[in-house]
């Protein structure tokens, strides 16, 4: 199988596969048709499946997300694209009060098999309203699943899992991933939502991340290896449900934990993960206090140097690990 597939190509392929396999699946969002999606993910699909399966919506996130929820309740398989994850604010009622709640408040009688794809994250110089990482908001809402792929293989494996899931799934794609390349497995794989994967084994420190940050963590691990520090890297893949058991297992081996997330530090999902590790028996396996690498508590600035200064980077991860190992509390990043 090809080993130089871009994340974008992997997404397009899995969308095509989904639309071809299920007549009840449809893609809708702003500019997903002839334009091919703001990030080019749906390029060619409207030509192939027609405008009744790949629907250009008016600018109305609440309206078309609500429509997707209704269609999902009726048994269809909508795939919603919210052009930038920041625009999700327009459809918060639909996601939080409707999609996440219908099943529960109807006593299990309804199911909302909706997949909402959205490009998130900073690093593109697009400033405060086009760069946010809002995924932690949805981790806080029972009834929603939140997944974040890191590689082309993850994108396909997680997307198949999301489509097979009877729950609403938020599918976060980091904008900086679209042009990254990777290999695909020989046989199509469907991931299990809520199952983290160890992507690098090591004995000195556990690095946990998801999405693009996972790739940064792997990069950091390579640098650390050059300093004789052997980092284990766990790719969470799914933030809700969150596989904290897998993280605890790793911490029992390494005794040290560094969580990397791109959302702002305060109220981020990293705080939840650290709590889960420290409130359980894995606490006693820790040799050092855990650390978090996250965005500063600020909107994302436009200036590229300012932007880079507040975002996690492989260098900042290396620095955090070094400080954890040096046991120097108060200087953690």
């Amino acid at each position: 199988m090809p080993d130089d597939v871009t994340f974008r190509e992997a997404m397009t392929t899995v969308l095509r596969e989904t639309l071809a396999a299920d007549d009840e699946a449809f893609l809708l969002g702003e500019d997903v048709g002839v334009y091919g999606g703001a990030f080019g993910v749906s390029r060619g699909l409207v030509e192939e499946f027609g405008p009744e399966r790949v629907l250009d919506t008016p600018l109305s996130e609440a309206g078309f997300t609500g429509l997707a929820i209704g269609a999902a309740v009726m048994g269809m398989r909508p795939i919603v694209e919210i052009q930038f994850s920041d625009f999700i604010t327009h459809c918060m009622d639909q996601l939080v009060n409707q999609a996440a709640k219908l099943r529960y408040m109807f006593g299990g009688a309804a199911s909302v098999p909706l997949v909402l794809r959205t490009p998130g994250g900073a690093g593109t110089g697009a400033a405060a309203q086009h760069s946010q990482s809002l995924e932690a908001w949805f981790v806080h809402v029972p009834g929603l699943r939140v997944v974040m792929p890191s590689t082309p293989a993850d994108a396909q494996g997680l997307f198949r899992a999301a489509m097979a899931d009877p729950n609403p799934v938020l599918f976060y794609e980091h904008k900086l991933l679209y042009n990254t390349k990777g290999s695909l497995p020989d046989q199509p794989e469907t991931y299990e939502i809520g199952r983290a994967r160890c992507t690098r084994e090591g004995g000195d420190v556990t690095l946990v991340a998801a999405g693009l940050m996972h790739n940064y963590a792997l990069e950091a691990a390579e640098t650390l290896a050059g300093q004789n520090i052997d980092a284990e890297v766990i790719n969470l893949l799914s933030l809700a449900p969150m596989d904290s058991d897998r993280v605890c297992e790793s911490v029992r081996k390494t005794g040290r934990l560094v969580v990397v997330e791109e959302d702002v530090r305060t109220g981020g999902w990293g705080g939840e993960l650290v709590t889960r590790v420290t409130e359980g028996p894995a606490f006693y396996a820790l040799d050092r206090a855990p650390a978090r690498v996250a965005c500063a508590d600020t909107p994302i600035p436009y200036n590229k140097r300012l932007e880079a200064s507040i975002r996690p980077s492989p260098e900042r991860i290396v620095e955090a690990v070094t400080q954890v190992l040096a046991n120097d509390p108060g200087r953690y990043v």
Binding site: E24, F26, P51, E52, L55, T57, P58, S60, A62, G63, F64, T65, G66, L67, A68, I69, G70, A71, A72, V73, M74, G75, M76, P78, D93, Q94, N97, Q98, L102, R103, Y104, M105, F106, G107, G108, A109, A110, S111, P142, G143, R145, D165, P166, N167, P241
Partner: protein, 334 residues
């Protein structure tokens, strides 16, 4: 998306008098059942025998009954927080509704929904909704499914005059119209969004006109007159079938407060009395009497039968079991 030509609505407006005597009486029974249900719930709250909140549609019965009597098998509805009438007019069982209001395991939602979330998704009742305007997109989604599957069903979307000021009203009317989705939007303009009068909230005055500006057939009708709602319902709901959206603005009134905690400080007793004098049930009784289909005795018997059915529903529901505590953690993830 390819647009479908709208099928022309039947030119012969169907009227209630075209229906069989039995069917005409059944509509009265339904309105009385709705009223008896809400009046019973109001009493239970006043006694402290029920918790949470509830919103009553006493006075608005003709809106749901007059539109939903045109429904065909396979049609669906979405309701509002003031939704007991929608559910009953759609055919839901007052006993299971009562059980839900009492939080019982036998309720439509197993006691996890309550008054504002009654649903019977299997039957096509896609839920009352606690968020104003919250179900408008859902109704469009059901209509979208009908269109994609080439089914001639209609999604009936109830909402109040308050929802008209929410962004989702604009978004869904526009979407339904540009995509020609078979949704019948039924606005129950009961004149108040909690305490704010529609007069102070609705620029331009007419809700039906707003809908017309989206290019869909729209009519304002006297919501206190079952006959008028029925006639508009026949025309507009048939127009939706296999075609695009339409809107009915039913001009109606809620006799009771917004919810059980409402002291009604924003309107006068005289105003309420004036509307009560135009009561949709009384008015329809007069029509049926004039048609020789009803006399005082029969009329009284129907009122008593409705009250009795509601008493029995609540009596049975009260004896039903509470949900298992473990069910609180069920149905979060399928």
């Amino acid at each position: 998306m390819a647009t479908r030509n709208k099928t022309s609505a039947s030119t012969a407006a169907s009227t209630l008098s075209d229906l069989s005597a039995e069917r005409q009486l059944a509509l009265l029974e339904q309105m009385q059942l709705i009223r008896a249900f809400d009046e019973k719930v109001d009493k239970l709250y006043a006694k402290g025998a029920m918790h949470g909140t509830a919103h009553f549609c006493v006075g608005q019965e003709a809106c749901a009954v007059g539109t939903l009597c045109h429904r065909h098998d396979g049609d669906v509805i979405t309701g509002t927080h003031r939704g007991h009438g929608h559910a009953i007019a759609f055919g839901l069982d007052p006993y299971r509704m009562a059980a839900e209001l009492l939080g019982k395991a036998t309720g439509y939602c197993g006691g996890k929904g309550g008054s504002m979330h009654i649903a019977d998704v299997q039957a096509g009742m896609l839920g009352a909704n606690g968020i104003v305007g919250g179900s408008m997109g859902i109704a469009c989604g059901a209509a979208f499914a009908f269109k994609q599957r080439a089914q001639d069903h209609v999604a009936v979307c109830f909402f109040g005059d308050g929802a008209v000021q929410e962004g989702i009203f604009n978004e869904t009317l526009n979407l339904a119209s540009v995509w020609q989705l078979p949704v019948l939007f039924v606005c129950e303009n009961n004149h108040y969004a909690m305490s704010l009068s529609a007069e102070k909230a609705t620029a331009g005055g007419s809700i039906a006109n707003r809908a017309a500006s989206y290019g869909m057939p729209a009519e304002a009708v006297d919501g206190m007159d079952l006959e008028a709602v029925y006639t508009a319902g026949a025309r507009l709901m048939n127009g939706c079938r296999g075609a695009g959206p339409a809107l009915i603005e039913t001009i109606t009134y809620r006799y009771l407060g917004h919810s059980k905690s409402d002291a009604n400080r924003y309107r006068t007793r005289e105003e309420i009395a004036e509307w009560r004098a135009n009561d949709p049930i009384e008015r329809y009784i007069r029509t049926l009497t004039e048609r020789g289909l009803l006399d005082d005795e029969r009329s009284q018997a129907l009122v008593e039968a409705a009250a009795d059915q509601v008493e029995q529903a609540f009596g049975r529901a009260e004896r039903d079991p509470e949900p298992e505590l473990s069910s609180a953690l069920e149905d979060v993830y399928a």
